[in-house]
């Protein structure tokens, strides 16, 4: 217990962050450690530059978008709670999460819906709540690489949108997005074990 309070002192608002994100104390400590390591000038927050320094992110096709997801609403910095809040999407779903879900007011950040929503907003660049054909095409271009011609990419994008599009507006809304993935084990595929 003593050690816990000392950790809580290390991490500002540690307890409230833990309550919000559901991370364990150990995970939070690990993340805080990482946060400070990324924050190279000891600013107390992370800028885009800090995240761009991570080498492997540069080669990740979605790296830029994922970095961007840490900076909602165009802000230039992300503090530790914000940092953890994004990562909380990838906390594995545990049994106690589903049990305690009902009494809690907000849905936990690692719920299926929130996991999906995180992925969704990586597609939805203009934040209009819909993945347009153009946005789909952009993602495809990132993911498929150079081997497929632009024309074929566009075909794929068309088909992908059409496949999920149910109301015929030529774009994929979040509901449609969720529906197209209803057979997938999102809880498993969007979780990282160490983020307990």
């Amino acid at each position: 217990m003593g050690s816990r309070s000392s950790h809580a002192a290390v991490i500002p608002d540690g307890d409230s962050i833990r309550r919000e994100t559901g991370f364990s104390q150990a995970s939070l400590l690990r993340l805080h450690h990482r946060f400070r390591a990324l924050d190279r000038n000891k600013k107390g927050y992370l800028s885009r530059m800090d995240l761009q320094q991570i080498g492997a992110l540069a080669v990740n096709p979605l790296g830029d978008r994922i970095i961007e997801s840490f900076f909602p609403d165009g802000s230039q910095r992300v503090d530790f709670p914000g940092f953890v809040r994004v990562l909380a999407h990838f906390r594995p779903v545990e049994d106690e999460d589903t049990e305690t879900q009902d009494p809690k007011k907000p849905e936990p950040l690692n719920s299926r819906r929130n996991k999906l929503h995180y992925a969704f907003q990586l597609y939805d660049l203009d934040r209009d709540g819909k993945i347009s054909r153009h946005e789909m095409l952009q993602v495809l271009r990132l993911m498929v690489g150079v081997q497929v011609t632009e024309e074929q990419l566009e075909n794929i994008a068309d088909r992908t949108v059409q496949e999920a599009d149910e109301d015929g507006d030529g774009a994929v809304s979040f509901v449609e997005f969720t529906k197209s993935l209803e057979k997938m084990d999102v809880e498993q595929k969007m979780s990282i074990r160490i983020l307990k």
Binding site: R30, L31, R34, A37, L38, L51, I54, A56, L57, V59, N60, P61, L62, G63, I66, L87, F90, P92, Y118, A119, L122, Y123, V139, L140, M143, V144, G145, Q147, V148, T149, E150, E151, Q152, E154, N155, I156, D158, R159, T160, V161, Q162, E163, A164, D165, G168, G170, F177, S180, L181, K183, M184, V186, Q188, K189, M190, S191, I192, R193, I194, L195
Partner: protein, 896 residues
């Protein structure tokens, strides 16, 4: 039926048995001169018998599957073992001695490799590596645990006096026995689990374990065997160390051999472009070479061939032709199923040979109980540890199935037969026990595992069709997870998988894949491709004729947007589709894409009456598998078909998928484009010449078009142009709208052989002016005429006649959007009309269209929008065919 198979087998068997006794007599006889008929059984005996056995096994399979009820209840492996028992009994009765045992040599060299190759090659690699940790744990730790605990417990049983003293075995003998009896058998597991359909994770864990534990089994068996041969007194501490070291040597060495051969195989298939026919052979040869090499070096051959299949698949599949792929798949499945059948049948037959085994109830019962108990215990313990690290823990039900699914099989039997009786005096007892264990696990557990799985409500595997969304999002998730691991700073599984994929993409695939095949291996593309083929095939099954008029019969159709009609007939047919075009609908839809959709829809509508034969041929699977060079074109063709299908089927969405225009692709393609452009421009120029005089709008643009043809790469992305070729006909005229033009528009409208300006002077052309007026005034509400049938008839008559009847229905030919059309408002109408005609555009409209279009750099492209010039790769369009059509072009932004 079963009896028939048996008696068929009995004949040659009896012959084989009696042959040796007859042989000594023959040398004594004088040479009989030229024989008219000679019986040469001995020369063909061995291959003949092999063929017969396989035939019997196959026939038996057919017989089993005659009744669905039986096969749904009883696993095939059980039936085969029982059949083997029956056959063995017959052989024993006929030949008075046991024949045709499962020889370990035959088993390891010929029967096992195809099964393992099949399972390795078709192993779902992603699933396998996702669960690699668990698989390795169960395979290594689990097998070691099973071997030692079973061996030690049996020894304890003997010490306790529960095993008869005539079983002369020490601790080492029991450990040896434990090592061979402990390994879960891939053949048995595969045979049973393939019919049970548990969920993929569970399957891959049990099955992966059974494949990978081979290395452990081989090492344990060899080490124990040599210890036994040396005698326990002579075993030194270094030997134990060597035993541990050999575990690594055997397993890693086997895997390395497999990977080396996988590399060679992939590399070889890269260069088989001109000798497609040997591609399947290469796959089998090199995989078999991997097996034999590993066997030669006393490494784990199963591991080698598993890794070979697992490693090479991605590249081999990309390199070899479609036909070869199918061949590999079916040959592999055939060989594996054949080997499996023979193995189980021979197992049954071998069990009959009572001379080889000696029964001891204590040993048999003890072994049965111990292997079940320790397997369960081992699984529970390991799972408990593993669950600390697994994202998705294995629950109790999974553990039950895993424990119960630990089937023993032919590997154990072959190993126990290989024991040396002089060194292992209790061999006969071990043989008997092994047979009982194998039979018990395969028959009893195999029979009951299905009801058990049902009763426990184990999550079954659900097979659902792949969708592009799932595929795409799955990739997205992978990348997201890799990125998040980067951010978190934990280099876990996703990180390494990501690194591996990048390495693979950068180096391995470049090295091992044919350049032309490289693209195809993108998974998203792959799914898209397969979806297309599936849809196309199902569509053809439902009545593919719907598609046919859109030029899909041309496999090498260069671009998706081309209407690609080569004949007047097609042209007219196409025009027929316009008969049901509702322009009102098109006008009210929101975007150009919607309009395109409608256009495509009507195009498809119009295609109903094309001979279906050609189309089917072009859609068959064989079609795809040709030269890699042509593959791209073929795919474009598939896409084309698909896209049209989609637009046809999805009218409720009002979404069209025809949007993109041809892009400059590879160099080869570009050349083609160049040619096409050259040809197209020729034709267009002529058309333009013809039309320029008619429509005010066009005057400037023919020059611009030249530039455009040069700079065709500057195409714009969004092309919303739609061309309608409209014809005023008597039907409309009958509605009283332009009554006067009826007399003036006689047949000559049809297709002047070459549309030059001179032709406009032809007297019959004068009528077109009137028609043009009509069209222009009615463009906003060209009446949907649903007289398609009538129109079709007139078309069919047109096919034979060079000139159409004059009483045509109003024709609106919908051409697919021009590839390079731009979004901006376009010239709304291209109305070829006689210069002398009184028609002119409403000035405001014409000017508006023109001024707007001139403001854009893309303007020139639009000038190409002639009837049937909608496509830039319009190589086969002869100018003559187009000229008689009047073209109305609708573009996004221009509301007529």
């Amino acid at each position: 039926m079963l009896r028939a198979a048996v008696s068929l087998l009995a004949l040659p068997l009896a012959g084989a048995a009696e042959e040796p006794t007859q042989k000594p007599e023959s040398p004594g006889e004088p040479p009989p001169g030229l024989e008219l008929f000679r019986w040469q059984w001995h020369e063909v005996e061995a291959p003949y018998l092999v063929a017969l056995w396989i035939l019997v096994a196959s026939l038996a399979k057919i017989v089993f599957h005659l009744s669905r009820k039986v096969t749904s209840l009883v696993p095939e492996s059980c039936l085969l073992i029982l059949l083997g028992l029956v056959l063995g009994g017959i052989v024993l009765a006929v030949a008075k001695k046991a024949e045709y045992q499962l020889e370990p040599g035959t088993f390891f060299l010929f029967l096992l490799p195809p099964i393992v190759l099949d399972s390795g090659y078709f192993m779902p690699s992603r699933l396998f590596f996702d669960n690699l940790g668990a698989i390795l744990t169960y395979a290594v730790v689990g097998t070691l645990w099973n071997a030692f605990t079973t061996g030690a417990a049996l020894w304890g049983l003997q010490q306790a006096g529960l095993v008869a003293p005539r079983v002369q075995a020490g601790l080492l003998d029991f450990l040896l026995f434990g090592s061979l009896i402990s390994a879960v058998d891939p053949v048995a597991v595969l045979a049973v689990f393939e019919e049970v359909h548990v969920n993929e994770t569970l399957f891959i864990i049990v099955f992966g374990e059974s494949l990978l534990n081979d290395a452990v089994t081989v090492v344990l068996y060899k080490v124990c065997n040599s210890f036994v041969e040396m005698g326990s007194a002579n075993v030194q501490a270094t030997d134990y160390l060597k035993g541990v070291a050999s575990l690594f040597v055997v397993s890693l060495g086997g895997a390395a051999v497999g990977l080396v051969f996988a590399f060679l195989l992939a590399l070889t298939t890269r260069f088989t472009k001109r000798v497609r026919i040997i591609e399947p052979l290469l796959v089998f040869l090199l995989a078999y070479a991997a097996y034999l090499t590993a066997e030669m070096a006393s490494l784990s051959a199963i591991l080698a061939v598993t890794m070979c299949g697992l490693g090479c698949k991605k590249y081999v599949e990309a390199n070899i032709s479609h036909k070869s792929r199918t061949t590999v798949k079916y040959t592999m499945k055939t060989l594996a199923s054949c080997a499996e059948t023979v193995i189980f049948m021979l197992l049954g037959i071998s069990a009959v040979d009572s001379s080889k085994w000696a029964w001891d109830s204590g040993l048999v019962l003890g072994t049965l109980i111990f292997i079940l108990f320790f397997r369960a215990l081992g699984v529970v313990l390991q799972t408990w540890v593993l669950n600390q690290f697994r994202l998705v823990p294995l629950d109790k039900i999974d553990q039950v199935v895993m424990s119960y699914g630990g089937l023993r099989g032919a590997v154990a039997f072959a190993l126990v037969i290989l024991l040396d009786r002089t060194k292992v005096p209790a061999k006969d007892y071990f043989v008997a026990t092994t047979i009982v264990v194998v039979f018990f696990t395969v028959i009893v557990q195999g029979l009951t595992i299905k009801p058990l799985v049902k009763w426990l409500k184990v999550k079954r595997s659900e097979h659902h069709k792949p969708t592009l969304n799932q595929e795409l999002h799955e990739h997205t998730f992978d990348h997201i997870l890799a990125a998040v691991e980067d951010v978190v700073g934990h280099h876990g599984y996703h990180y390494w998988r990501d690194r591996w994929e990048q390495f693979d993409k950068k180096y391995l695939s470049q090295l091992l894949m044919r350049r032309s095949a490289y693209r195809i291996r993108d998974q998203i593309w792959d799914v898209y491709y397969r979806l297309n083929i599936r849809d196309a095939i199902s569509f053809v099954d439902q009545g593919g004729h719907v598609l046919s008029s859109t030029g899909l019969t041309l496999p090498s159709m260069p671009s998706r947007n081309s209407v690609a009609e080569t004949s007047v007939t097609n042209l007219l047919r196409e025009s027929g589709s316009g008969a049901c075009l509702d322009l009102q609908v098109i006008d009210t839809v929101r975007s150009g894409r919607d309009r395109e959709d409608a256009v495509m829809h009507h195009l498809l509508c119009g295609g109903l009456y094309k001979p279906r034969r050609r189309y089917k041929a072009s859609c068959s699977r064989h079609f795809i598998s040709e030269d890699a060079q042509e593959r791209q074109d073929k795919e474009v063709f598939q896409q084309n078909m698909k896209r049209r299908l989609e637009s046809f089927k999805s009218t409720k969405h009002n979404i069209c998928f025809t949007k993109s225009k041809p892009r400059p692709r590879k160099t080869g393609r570009r050349k083609k484009d160049g040619v096409a452009n050259a040809e197209a421009t020729n034709g267009k120029h002529r058309d333009l010449g013809f039309q320029d005089t008619a429509a005010v709008i066009l005057t400037v643009e023919s020059e611009e078009e030249e530039e455009e043809s040069d700079s065709s790469e500057t195409e714009k992305e969004d092309d919303e142009g739609i061309i309608f070729v409209a014809r005023a006909t008597s039907e409309v005229l009958q509605e009283g709208k332009v009554s006067g033009s009826l007399e003036v528009c006689p047949s000559p409208r049809i297709i002047p052989p070459s549309p030059t300006c001179a032709e406009k002077e032809l007297p019959w052309k004068s009528g077109q002016g009137d028609l043009a007026v009509y069209v222009s005034s009615e463009t906003t509400k060209i009446v949907p005429v649903d007289m398609q049938t009538g129109w079709n008839q007139s078309i069919s008559s047109l096919e034979s006649l060079a000139s159409p009847p004059c009483n045509q229905a109003p024709i609106l030919t919908c051409l697919p959007p021009h590839p390079r059309g731009a979004e901006e408002p376009q010239v709304p109408l291209h109305l070829p009309s006689d210069p002398r005609s009184s028609f002119a555009f409403p000035p405001s409209l014409a000017k508006a269209g023109r001024s707007r279009s001139e403001s854009s750099a893309d303007l020139p492209q639009q000038q190409e929008l002639q009837p049937l010039m909608g496509h830039k790769d319009h190589t086969h369009l002869s100018p003559g065919t187009a000229t008689s059509h009047w073209c109305i072009q609708f573009n996004r932004g221009s509301r007529l």
